[in-house]
């Protein structure tokens, strides 16, 4: 039976790698079971990092899997007459297999820091500030296009309008636009969104943008991206927010600047009309 069990353990790397190859090659029977289309100029780095780690771990997975199989096969007591090697280990080997993984792991850690900083720390800037040098403390961060607020169980979208201020105090004419679950953004432009929560934790997840950020009541977060393709995509809530968590679904529409401006103006008009009707007591 030793042969059988050895081969069973060999199946782990064979089928394991096979499943990933099939999924990544996008072939039957698991067509479309891979990273969803990336439409964010800044998202590609996350995908390539994913693939890099996949190749690296894949090599280790195959090597250790085959070693395990071979040792079980080769040293099966039923097929193998010579006595066990009486050894308590090898100092050299321990040093080698400590330093090598340590170096690889540290390399991955340092290698990805830039990608992380670009995704979460270096918010796009409006101007480089008085000193004219980007990347210094006086940079003026880009203002958010919209404020997205999660609440049980919807995404409230709030565009600031031409004055670029949310709920500005001195507004004589309210130019803000409020919509639910429908987020539109212009294509090929750097977009910053301010995201907040009104009640419990939510997580603003745009699978096609490789963006995910929890929103916490009492805090505000920013996400940024530059979409490179028009279309309609999912907005997912990725942090448990109650019984209706599963239906907290929004839609993200990426469209040209003209279409976007037209859409926003139209939303504004509709909102005015609604408030007028409501204001006169119907």
């Amino acid at each position: 039976m030793g042969r059988f069990w050895s081969l069973l353990f060999l199946l782990v790397p064979v089928l394991g790698v096979g499943a990933f190859v099939f999924a990544a090659a996008d072939v039957w029977p698991i067509h479309g079971h891979w990273l969803p289309d990336n439409i964010n100029d800044h998202g590609g780095v996350i995908d390539s990092l994913f693939m890099f780690i996949l190749y690296l771990t894949g090599v280790i997975f195959i090597a250790t899997g085959i070693a395990l199989f071979w040792f079980l096969w080769r040293y099966d007591a039923a097929k193998h007459a010579e006595p066990a090697k009486f050894t308590h280990g090898s100092h050299t080997l321990e040093v080698v297999w400590s330093i090598l993984p340590a170096a690889i792991l540290l390399f991955i850690a340092i290698y990805q820091m830039n990608a992380w900083a670009d995704a979460k720390i270096r918010r796009p800037i409006e101007s480089s500030g008085p000193d004219g040098v980007a990347g210094t403390a006086d940079d003026v961060p880009q203002r958010p296009l919209a404020l997205v607020t999660g609440r049980q169980f919807e995404w409230q979208i709030h565009y600031s309008g031409p004055d670029k201020e949310f709920n500005s105090e001195d507004d004589t004419v309210r130019d803000d636009v409020f919509i639910v679950n429908e987020l539109h953004v212009p294509v090929h432009e750097e977009v910053v969104l301010q995201i907040e929560s009104q009640d419990v934790l939510h997580s603003f997840f745009l699978p096609n943008m490789r963006i995910k950020q929890d929103v916490v009541p009492g805090m505000k977060q920013f996400v940024w991206f530059r979409a490179n393709r028009e279309g309609t995509f999912d907005i997912v809530c990725a942090e448990l927010c109650g019984w209706g968590h599963y239906k907290m679904k929004g839609r993200l529409t990426v469209e040209s600047r003209e279409k976007f401006d037209r859409w926003l103006a139209q939303q504004y008009d509709e909102q005015q009309r609604r408030s007028f009707v409501a204001g006169t007591g119907e």
């Binding site: 070693a67 009486f86 308590h88 321990e94 995910k212 999912d234 019984w243």
Partner: protein, 607 residues
């Protein structure tokens, strides 16, 4: 060591002395089997309790799987019994309860108590050559403090909401505001109380384990002659003792937020689902920090003892010393030490300062190192051995094979940019099930098959054990491996119906396949249950050392009586001297004195 005597066949005869005859036999029974202070009985009590909860947790998981495969379809048989008001369907609020309670039961009632409570209790005194734990009464209490926890969590199933439903991580405000979810009422309060009782129980255990291992080792049993199981239990006990108070404190803070209006975790003026505005002044993120400060080390509490037991099993059935004993010990310690500074990797996208995320990322990457060293040493142990494919060995080998997957997938989520995409997706679900089920639970099965003869003096059936192993192994990979692929699509956790998202609509067939495998995996455990119960009473009787193993527990009677050893064990060497050239047998028990004339130098007798 006076409470039992041992007859010539190695069977323990409990002493009648100290108990009046006749009338008080009920009292005797209660003292021996119920409120027992014998570490072995307490270990078995933990084992039986946790195995029963294992069944509950497994059935809860099937509910989750049913909903993901065929959402809003009537669940066959069980559906009618459980959710007749909903017409046999799982409602979304019931679904949130299912995954919350599945995780709670599996983590707090199965994995942690089966490792530390059952095997820790049973093995520590036996493997170090002690007659019992340092504090037997405290030990008894540590088991009986699980019962309030069982009652709290068990009763919460019958409270409004059918149980807590804010995830096993219990993140506020969802968990802290009564109106936030159907399960955030009294059920959540009971959940918090239950977890507190588990904490008390674990704390009593860990104090006892540390004291016992430090003070009660047999003569000659130096720290570096301890089996790796004991090293792992020792380090685990330290982890628990230092991490648990934080969880207990956090639990009480949340309890106060819920009941007396404090605002540790609630921002000012917070309103959830028309609740009264919170007094507030607090921070939801604070809970996450406190929770993970315990719960990340707890991840290692859930794997280190399994690693220790696997090391013992592999060395025994490779008939070869463990490869790199000291590096193994240092790895366990390294994992434990680093384990305290990686909790932030659960919070990369939580809103925590992203700069802080970088430091947690580096620490997290580094914790993969000791794990890798352990894997290499297990491979090194099997290399050059004489491998016996017994049931415990198959389970232990599968631990190594599966832990490689669980360890490697961890690197993806340690990489902060990649974690942005895969956080809270099925990639994570795949990862921790590979570590906790395919890793720890398989090691536990292996340990049960391995130490069963010591516990009950009888063998479990090997053939059925292998059948159990084969189907569990196949089905678990069918269940958990494809979850990596789901995660690569971004398939989120905890959604009652993910298929109304365009991105995930086509993933239902794969989920149905996973569910079928999960049903197969749970059904396979029937084989185990029958084998276990049957062998307890009718399995072939064995002597003290059926596996020809070296460590001390195998020199005690099977099963050992109260007081464990019928002689004073004196230890001459480490527990892994298999195939030593000093002796003719391929094993060399720790208590066997070295030959006066080492082999090869013995003068020929007949000449």
């Amino acid at each position: 060591m006076s409470a039992s005597t041992v007859d010539s066949h190695g069977h323990a005869i409990p002493h009648a002395a100290g108990h009046a005859h006749g009338g008080s036999s009920v009292g005797h029974f209660i003292n021996t089997y119920v409120f027992s202070r014998d570490h072995k009985i307490i270990g078995l009590q933990f084992l039986f309790s946790t195995l029963l909860w294992f069944l509950v947790g497994g059935l809860l998981a099937l509910g989750i799987r049913w909903q993901l495969a065929w959402p809003w379809h009537d669940m066959p048989v069980i559906g009618r019994m459980l959710f007749s008001p909903e017409g046999g369907q799982i409602s979304p609020e019931f679904y949130t309860m299912l995954f919350t309670m599945h995780a709670t039961v599996m983590i707090f009632f199965v994995i942690i108590p089966i490792l530390a409570g059952a095997f820790g209790n049973y093995l520590i005194p036996l493997m170090i050559g002690a007659d019992d734990m340092a504090f037997p009464t405290l030990n008894m209490l540590s088991y009986w403090f699980m019962w309030p926890a069982f009652l709290c969590i068990g009763s919460s199933f019958f409270l409004p909401g059918n149980g807590a439903a804010s995830g096993w991580t219990s993140y506020p405000p969802l968990s802290a505001v009564w109106e936030a979810a159907p399960g955030s009422g009294m059920a959540q309060t009971m959940w918090l109380l239950g977890i507190t009782f588990v904490g008390i129980s674990s704390m009593m255990g860990s104090v006892n384990y540390m004291t016992t291992i430090i003070n009660m080792r047999a003569p000659g049993m130096t720290m570096f002659r301890l089996p790796l199981t004991i090293w792992a239990m020792f380090i685990t006990a330290i982890l628990q003792a230092f991490a648990l108070p934080v969880l207990t404190a956090a639990g009480f803070m949340q309890l106060m937020d819920r009941t007396i209006g404090t605002g540790f975790f609630l921002p000012e003026g917070l309103v959830v689902n028309n609740s009264m505005a919170a007094t507030g002044g607090g921070q939801p993120l604070l809970w996450q920090h406190l929770f993970w400060f315990y719960s990340h080390p707890a991840v290692y509490i859930m794997i280190l003892p399994a690693m220790g037991m696997v090391s013992d099993i592999i060395s025994c059935f490779a008939r070869k010393p463990i490869f790199g004993y000291k590096p193994m010990v240092y790895s366990i310690s390294g994992i434990a030490g680093l384990g305290f500074i990686v909790w932030g990797h659960h919070m990369f996208i939580s809103g925590m300062n992203p700069v802080l995320g970088m430091t947690f990322m580096v620490a997290t990457m580094l914790i993969a190192l000791p794990s890798a060293v352990k894997v290499f040493n297990w491979l090194g142990t099997i290399w050059g051995g004489k491998v016996l494919f017994t049931t415990p060995m198959l389970f232990a080998t599968s631990f190594v094979s599966m832990f490689i997957i669980g360890g490697l997938s961890g690197i993806f989520m340690a990489a902060t940019p990649v974690d942005i995409f895969i956080h809270d997706t099925y990639f994570i679900v795949a990862h921790f099930h590979y570590v906790l089920f395919s890793g720890t639970a398989m090691a536990v099965f292996g340990a049960i098959y391995f130490w069963f003869p010591k516990m009950f003096g009888r063998m479990m059936n090997e053939t059925w054990g292998k059948v159990h192993f084969f189907f569990t192994f196949v089905f678990l990979n069918g269940t958990f491996y494809l979850m990596h692929i789901l995660g690569a699509v971004g398939f989120p956790r905890r959604l009652a119906d993910p298929y109304h998202y365009e991105t995930f609509a086509h993933l239902q067939p794969m989920n149905q396949f996973i569910t079928i495998c999960a049903i197969g995996m749970v059904s396979t455990q029937i084989i185990f249950a029958i084998n276990f119960i049957y062998s307890m009473f009718y399995g072939p009787s064995v002597g003290r050392n059926p596996w020809h193993a070296n460590s001390l527990e195998w020199t005690a009677p099977s099963p050992p009586g109260h007081g464990n050893f019928d002689f004073q064990p004196i230890v001459y060497r480490g527990p892994y001297e298999y195939g030593s050239p000093e002796v003719d047998t391929d094993y060399y028990p720790q208590i066997q004195p070295p030959p006066t004339h080492p082999k090869g130098t013995v003068p020929p007798k007949h000449h």
